[in-house]
């Protein structure tokens, strides 16, 4: 017997059954894969933090290669010596500070409340690295990253990532030639915290000038570049008091 698919009652029942089936499939997928996805995200965070402080598997000038997933947990433990949570004047140690969601903390800070700010202190070849997570907005969606500073507030490395910037344009913030430009720039202008601006018309494509608080912009990605500048400035601003105590030592 042929089904009369034009009846209203059939349409309602069909829609309800479809919602239940699709909902069940997605709920099952989500719950069964959640643990694996969370673990992958944790490894990725560790890889990004290590990348910013120069612990990576880069082989040539163009590659962005992280420490392998199998080794990252061990490497993270051996390079990251201390993890702090800065909450106003209170500073506590926390072995899982790097898992704190910077997006939430920046929203809390935006409301005028005291955020819990994670800060990782790494050590490589006897040198200390202060690694700060950053979060901001690009053209289409969120951008984030990590910046590694030495005790003179000079950038030792960065890692940027994005959710949905345009491939070939804004998405190039995670390309090596862009990220490498930040190394050697100071976040201070004199004694003031100035951040680093992604500047159009910088006229320094090789980024030889390291004391101008500027790096060369990406062609065709003005808004993403402005987002990166704002992200660095706003994120570092939250850590200003702590960083002042570091640079004053």
């Amino acid at each position: 017997m042929a089904i009369n698919t034009d009846k209203n009652s059939y349409t309602v029942v069909f829609a309800a059954v479809m919602v239940v089936i699709v909902g069940s499939i997605l709920a099952f997928m989500s719950s069964s894969l959640k643990d694996r996805i969370t673990e992958n995200e944790r490894f990725e965070k560790q890889q990004n933090i290590l990348y910013a402080m120069g612990v990576n598997d880069n082989v040539d000038e163009g590659s962005v290669n992280f420490v392998s997933t199998d080794e990252v947990e061990g490497e993270f433990k051996s390079y990251i010596k201390e993890q702090l949570v800065i909450e106003g004047d209170k500073i506590t140690e926390n072995d899982e500070a790097y898992l704190i969601d910077m997006k939430k903390q920046m929203a809390i800070a935006g409301k005028g409340e005291t955020p819990k700010l994670p800060l990782m202190i790494g050590e490589k070849d006897g040198k200390k690295y202060y690694i700060i997570p950053m979060y901001g907005k690009g053209l289409w969606d969120a951008i984030w990253g990590f910046i590694a500073l030495d005790d003179k507030m000079v950038v030792q490395g960065v890692y940027f990532d994005h959710k949905g910037e345009t491939p070939g344009l804004g998405a190039n913030i995670k390309q090596r030639y862009f990220m490498d430009d930040f190394t050697g720039e100071s976040i201070l202008k004199g004694t003031e915290y100035a951040g680093i601006a992604v500047a159009k018309g910088n006229n320094d494509p090789l980024n030889n000038t390291k004391d101008d608080n500027e790096v060369d912009a990406l062609a065709g990605a003005t808004i993403t570049g402005n987002g990166v500048s704002a992200m660095i400035k706003e994120s570092l601003n939250l850590y200003k008091d702590y960083l002042q105590t570091v640079s004053a030592k």
């Binding site: 989500s30 894969l33 694996r36 065709g220």
Partner: protein, 215 residues
């Protein structure tokens, strides 16, 4: 017995040229503009669309006799969105690196007119095997155009192909750049894709006058 009959084979070959989804059916233009600034992105998008369109066409075809016509567009949207979410979740769990590369494209697939266009025009009226072939054929036709556009935009806009500097170093002025050649910045912004697609349409219609509409 041949695996594909002549009619089946035409479902794959027609969309490659004379019934191309982008240049003839004028579907999927948005993603051709959005992601073709680099060749790698074009290839990745083509593969992702092939997976979703091939599988989506089969699912819609299997359901074609029971879908109420009043809500068929919503049902099609639910099928494509579900497939996209499932693909995204599985990749995040088992191929995390790949999922990072694909994330932008996987999301964009939902907005791709080719998917809805083929569900509506073919899968709702044909069996699963034919619908599968139609999905693969159309995504190949879409992919060919994306790859051509991506090739020219990356080569002329950035002087690279798949990230490799094929024309020399524009900053150190080596290779072709030593002769005074400059990258064309216009090629990396979306309007350039429209021009390249326009040129492909022009070439295609010059070669085959049957494609030109009568006034």
């Amino acid at each position: 017995m041949a695996l594909l009959t002549k009619k089946d084979a035409s479902l794959i070959t027609d969309p490659l040229a004379d019934n191309n989804p982008i240049t003839i059916q004028v579907l999927g233009i948005c993603s051709a503009l959005a992601i073709t600034a680099e060749l790698k992105a074009s290839i990745v998008m083509a593969v992702a669309v092939m997976f979703v369109l091939g599988l989506g066409n089969v699912v819609i075809s299997l359901m074609r006799n029971v879908i109420p016509s009043k809500i068929r567009i919503i049902v099609q949207l639910i099928v494509v969105a579900t497939l996209v979410i499932v693909v995204d979740q599985v990749l995040k769990a088992f191929a995390y690196e790949l999922s990072k590369t694909l994330s932008v494209f996987v999301g964009l697939i939902i907005t791709n007119c080719i998917i809805m266009g083929r569900f509506e025009a073919f899968a709702l009226a044909n069996g699963p095997w034919k619908s599968f072939l139609d999905g693969i054929g159309n995504s190949l036709g879409y992919g060919v155009i994306l790859i051509i556009v991506g090739f020219f935009r990356e080569l002329l806009g950035s002087g690279t192909l798949l990230g490799y500097k094929v024309l020399g170093d524009p900053i150190a002025k080596t290779g072709l750049y030593a002769t005074g050649y400059e990258n064309n910045g216009f090629m990396i912004i979306p309007p350039a894709a429209l021009i390249v697609v326009g040129i492909i349409i022009w070439v295609q219609r010059s070669r085959n006058p049957a494609l030109v509409e009568d006034n």
